[in-house]
Amino acid sequence: MIDLHGYGPRLLEGALVTIELAVLSLVVAVVLGLLTASAKMSRNWMLHKVATLYTTVIRGVPDLVLMMLMFFGGQIGINMFTDMLYDRFDIDIFINVNEFVAGVITIGLIFGAYMGETFRGAFMAVDNGQIEAGRAYGMSHWLVFRRIRFPLMMRHALPGLSNNWMVLLKTTALVSVIGLSDMVRVASEASKATREPFTFMIIVALIYLLIATFSEWGFARLQKRYDVGFGESH
């Protein structure tokens, strides 16, 4: 068998950190993406401007730079804010930035911008007649969204969503640079300590491939579900 020099359990823990980070960031990204898509389609020009600025800036700057800005700048920014609270309103609080939470927020914020574009395109692809039909049945706005717009939109959004998820999964590797113990960080520490980079890096690469292959399968099933009633053409 392969000799892991006792790094096996830590590698497994790292893999769990990677998966947790990826899934939680995905949730943040989807919520932000839906908000951004609605803001971009809204008639309020302020909302539209803000959403456009957000997606443009985030997509024009490397993930790693944004991550460092958030990680290193985040604590200072929050400290400045709490200092101001103390000076102005005599409220004394101290917020310590947890690395994991910062990672989730940063990755979520980055991919919210990509999701926003995906969702916007998908919402626009929904046939207006469907929504009118829902309104004609006397459904409320929320009910139309939940029963008609969202499921129909998902059919168009799924390919983009799965694409974004694959990129997001690989982006989580960057948190290892900033100090979170995900599996890449464990593997890089183990490589340096044991001078056997191939063993550890190849295991990590295999885990990534495994997650990617598994999610591909999952997305294919989801696509089948949302394609119900639309034939085999998509």
């Binding site: 790693l64 200072i76 920014g77 690989k170 890449v184 593997a187 690469a205 491939l209 292959t213």
Partner: protein, 243 residues
Amino acid sequence: MEALMNALTELLADNTIFTMKTLGYYGEGLVTTVQLVFLSLIIGLVLAVPLAIGRGSRHAWIKMPIFFFTYVFRGTPLLVQLYLIYYGVVFVDGIQDTWLWLILEKPFVPALIAFTLNTAAYTTEIFRGAIKSTPRGEIEAARAYGMSQRLMMRRIILPSAFRRALPAYGNEVIFMLHASAIASVVTIMDLTGAARFVYARFYAPFEAFLFVAGIYLCLTFAILYFFRYLEKRLLAHLKPANQ
């Protein structure tokens, strides 16, 4: 030129972080980033064309290894690939004593290899898609002219596929620019490396990283407009007639 330098020095006189020296770091970082991205894109492109043709081959022994290569390199993080190549080279027994060490000593070469292989994998898949979607009529017309497989590939399929691949390739170029920030992890002083240095030196995360983010944003827009211009020129014949 001298007047410009004087004006710049005067402008920076009261600034403790952005002195001529730190701006020099950013400048060198910009050169390193552009070199790294440009070289890996060019070499990756040269590798990708034969790989894309081979990817569509009928023979499994050509098709399968290329599929495996693109699957692995597109399915794993670039950081892992970089670590694998960087540490893999450094820890090979006795490499420090050979002539190879002279080239591999600097992290630039391992980073270049990792980036090149990565972009080659993505570009291969982009080209393969473009080759696959060649209109049937173009191939039939080439056949009718009695062109051989090779001639048809050179004169008809590849030129038309390159044009169709252009928008996706533009995205890949921007992706590569952003991915190159990872080079700073293996101690290369690229743009991000310069920003990290300035951050560590002055403990000024906002100034250091916002400034570099602005530079990346400008580079991204420059690439975007360049590809838009190319598309306008090269894809003009595909536009609807009445527009």
